[in-house]
């Protein structure tokens, strides 16, 4: 390999066919005299622009497009050299850091010698060691293409905003399950907003047996084992639900505040009393109607109860998790869109309340397809305000454009699976912790279950990893029409005799 060109932080390296270098590989460009080395990552592999190559190719197709038959007598065996030159490649690399001795620095202000520097592949394992990606709380994500383990430090997820994204069926949920279970090993408190019930099997192995996390997984299904007592609700939380989830206008919200205060002062804050109070409240008929429609929405959600004993599970689970670590899975699978928003409004309000009062230290929140239940203003809250309370969010989505640009800008870690759509890649490439070229070039070619890890977890050295397998029960699979049994039945069905005598009898 020879150093060819440098422009900005892009470096071009001439590579020959016997040097097996691929996209994503790291190269070490050592300048012995300067006693320094550059670490560069290959983001694209192109054919070198060899002079005369066009003539060479045209020459082999002169006969109306068909290859001309012939024989070459090449006693000096020059032909392999021609092929060698023809197949030489240009590696487009991004400079990532400078190594001086055992120290890494992000400085790229110097230029190694073009004639004297030596270039070699830098094994990912060496890079991980140099960059000190490993920490005291290791989480093994999987293997790199060199078959070395990629282990990140759990503390690099702590206090961070993470995004897991990629197109469908590339392994996003699998990775988030891996991160959740790994965090549980370090006694972390995890809350999962589970849109499709995919995480409800986390406590079981693939063959349905209880696994090591069984006692740490708490699945809460709204209106079933997850209810809220009206008495326990804070006025602010219920108002947030009414205004943001149920879109209650301001005037009506003011009347509701009075009603709520009135009932609270009287000490009779129940669903029934709330309904009666709205009915008998001296207010404009339109306001009453607005309040009534929201009241019935609350009642019909089944999420609210007057029975305090029924409504203690969330806090119980969180406090249990606080001691030994645990994951509270909020199963939103069969919950309507409005009810989802009500539940999430309540949950986030509750978490903030617990965190503000230091009854909880911090929570790792995993939110799948958050645009389906998270109100607009929460996006900003999550990246600015909530992390100060101790809510560290990981967004999981296959529609990267549903996450706001400012979220990408502030994301600390991105776990990027395959995307082929130019628009999707464009959106992700706005992340501040990585350059657009790397995202676009590498993510496009990622095979399933391979993830490009970007950000602080890998000390800003983008690394491709094949996510390791996890022995947990898979839930939330796509329901298929052509299942095994169905296709078997249809293939065996006889067009002449659809029913047998035995079956009829």
């Amino acid at each position: 390999m020879r150093l060819y060109k440098k422009e900005g932080n892009i470096i071009e390296i001439l590579s020959f066919p016997n040097e097996n270098v691929e996209k994503g590989d790291y190269l070490l460009i050592e300048d012995a005299e300067a006693q320094k080395a550059l670490i560069a990552q290959v983001i694209d592999v192109q054919f070198a622009n060899i002079p005369g190559i066009l003539e060479e190719l045209l020459r082999s197709l002169p006969d109306g497009g068909g290859t001309i038959q012939g024989e070459d007598v090449d006693p000096l065996e020059i032909a392999p050299h021609i092929t060698y030159i023809q197949d030489s490649r240009l590696l487009i690399c991004k400079i990532r850091a400078t190594v001086e001795g055992d120290f890494l620095s992000p400085s790229t202000s110097w230029l190694p010698s073009r004639s004297q520097s030596s270039i070699r592949k830098l094994p990912i394992a060496t890079l991980i060691r140099l960059a000190k990606v490993n920490g005291n709380l290791p989480i093994t994500l999987g293997v790199t293409k060199e078959n070395s383990l990629l282990t990140i430090d759990a503390s690099s997820l702590d206090g961070r905003l993470n995004i897991i994204t990629g197109k469908k069926e590339t392994g996003k949920s699998h990775l988030s399950k891996l991160l959740i279970t790994s965090l549980l090993q370090y006694k972390a408190v995890v809350v999962v907003l589970d849109l499709n019930g995919e995480y409800t099997g986390l406590g079981f192995t693939s063959d349905g047996k209880r696994n090591a996390y069984y006692n740490k997984i708490h699945v809460l299904t709204p209106a079933q084992n997850f209810k809220v007592a009206i008495k326990q609700l804070h006025l602010n939380v219920i108002l947030n639900i009414l205004i943001h989830a149920l879109h209650l206008p301001g005037t009506s919200a003011r009347e509701f505040r009075r009603i709520w205060q009135h009932l609270k002062d009287k000490g009779c804050l129940t669903l029934h009393e709330l309904g009666e109070a709205i009915r008998n409240w001296n207010c404009n008929q339109n306001v009453r109607d607005a309040l009534f429609s929201r009241y019935y929405a609350l009642v019909n959600s089944g999420f609210f109860t007057d029975n305090v004993a029924e409504a203690t599970l969330l806090e119980e689970c969180l406090f249990k998790a606080r001691e030994e670590g645990g994951a509270v899975i909020i199963n939103l699978r069969n919950t309507s869109p409005i009810d989802r928003q009500i539940v999430v409004e309540y949950l986030l309000g509750k978490l903030v309340e617990l965190l503000t009062s230091w009854r909880l230290k911090a929570v790792f929140l995993f939110a799948e397809e958050a645009h389906l239940y998270l109100r607009e203003t929460y996006w900003d809250d999550i990246v600015t305000r909530m992390r100060h309370f101790g809510i560290f969010t990981t967004f999981i989505t296959n529609q990267p454009d549903t996450i706001r640009e400012n979220i990408y800008r502030q994301a600390d870690n991105i776990f990027l699976f395959n995307f082929t759509n130019e628009h999707d890649l464009e959106v992700v490439s706005r992340a501040a912790r990585v350059d657009a070229e790397t995202v676009k070039s590498i993510a496009r070619d990622l095979p399933p279950h391979h993830c490009l890890v970007l950000g602080k977890v890998v000390k800003d050295f983008p690394i491709v990893v094949k996510v390791r397998a996890l022995d947990v029960k898979t839930m939330g699979e796509t329901r298929l029409f052509f299942t095994g049994a169905h296709s078997e039945n249809t293939s065996q069905a006889s067009p002449v005799e659809p029913y047998s005598a035995g079956e009829n009898s």
Binding site: I50, P62, I68, D72, P75, L76, I82, Q86
Partner: protein, 363 residues
């Protein structure tokens, strides 16, 4: 002579009926190539700063002496009876300079068309390290090995050697073709003018005789001619004649020692005012000569008035920049030559007005 043991495969025979004449690859050429390169190990090499392709010049060296005006054009009717068309061309290039000499490469191609298919045999590239000491030896040894009857004249100088080595290979390819092919048309690049240092009369006569004895007709196309008629270039003198036709240019008196071994025509084979000087073996009867051109018309593609077979031969032997780099890579890797970058004095002194190395002094 001790030869480095390379895996040298014998040339496969042409895909033509064989006779008793040995047509194996010029073994001596390969031996000399390897031998000369062996003596270049670990030297410094200055790559040619402006690589200029040195294809065999098809510009004929004949000086016309008032050619007789032609009488009538000879109209041509393409004859489609199946005839094999074959063509030969060679190319040479200077790859670089060492402290003691130059490194050159030569390559030759034979292309033939039978039915609708073209096929080729390409010999080379053969690389030679030519020094003052071995120049005479290499050239004369080769000449003696392949044309033993010919009296070795003085070896060419450094400037001419790439061309002369290519000529030698070309003559050998032509001779092989003439001896192995039968009842076909053989196309040469250039003219049938003999008596020049690179085309001795005896050599060319032998080739033509061999071709005739096998029932072949030799046609030589010259792309650029200096022959003039009434002040006009011969190839531009007859714009009114409708193609395809031949215009006979009789009574050309070449200056001794030049000899014309072919009958000279202006060939207008296609529309578009493309005319070429065409030499056809003089020993063939006039009717056979015309018939040979008609067979060529009926059996080969004629693009811009030039036979496709000959065009392919030229294309296939020409060195591309990529191949030049590959050959330089080969000599660097195999013989551990150290590439040096000596400044180009023309560029250094005259900047953008420097004409490069092509204008440097004659050695």
């Amino acid at each position: 002579m001790v030869i480095e043991q390379y895996t040298i495969t014998a040339t496969p025979k042409y895909n033509f009926p064989q006779n008793a004449i040995d047509t194996v690859l010029p073994q001596r050429l390969i031996e000399l190539s390897i031998y000369s390169l062996k003596h270049v190990q670990n030297q410094a090499v200055q790559l040619k700063q402006q690589t200029i392709q040195q294809a065999v010049l098809s510009q004929e060296t004949l000086v016309a002496q008032h050619p007789t005006p032609p009488v009538q054009p000879i109209p041509l009717n393409p004859k489609t009876e199946p005839t094999t068309i074959a063509a030969v061309d060679t190319s040479s290039i200077k790859l670089g300079e060492t402290g003691r000499g130059i490194i050159i490469a030569v390559r030759g191609t034979t292309v033939w068309k039978r039915g609708r298919n073209y096929a080729y045999l390409r010999v080379g590239p053969l690389i030679f390290h030519i020094t003052e000491e071995n120049l005479q030896e290499i050239y004369k040894t080769l000449l003696k090995a392949y044309f033993p009857e010919q009296n070795p004249q003085g070896a060419p100088g450094f400037l001419q050697i790439p061309l002369r080595m290519a000529n030698l290979l070309e003559r050998w390819l032509q001779a092989s073709l003439a001896k192995t092919m039968s009842n076909g048309i053989i196309l040469f690049d250039g003219s049938l003018t003999a008596g020049t240092p690179d085309t001795p009369t005896q050599q060319l006569k032998e080739v033509l005789a061999s071709a005739r004895s096998m029932g072949n007709a030799v046609l030589a196309f010259t792309k650029v001619t200096t022959l003039r008629f009434n002040g006009c270039l011969l190839t531009e003198a007859f714009p009114a004649y409708r193609p395809p036709c031949l215009v006979e240019v009789a009574n050309i008196k070449p200056k001794p020692p030049l000899t014309l071994l072919g009958e000279v025509y202006v060939a207008k084979l296609a529309r578009g005012n493309y005319a070429f000087r065409l030499d056809v073996d003089r020993e063939l009867p006039a009717q056979k000569r015309v018939e040979a051109v008609e067979k060529l018309l009926g059996n080969d593609l004629i693009v811009h008035g030039y036979p496709e077979t000959l065009r392919l031969a030229h294309i296939l032997c020409t060195f591309t920049a990529n191949e030049v780099i590959a050959m330089q890579h080969f000599i660097q890797q195999r013989y551990r030559l150290k590439i040096i970058d000596r400044p180009d004095m023309h560029r250094l002194l005259f900047g953008p007005f420097g004409k490069g190395e092509s204008h440097y002094e004659t050695l």
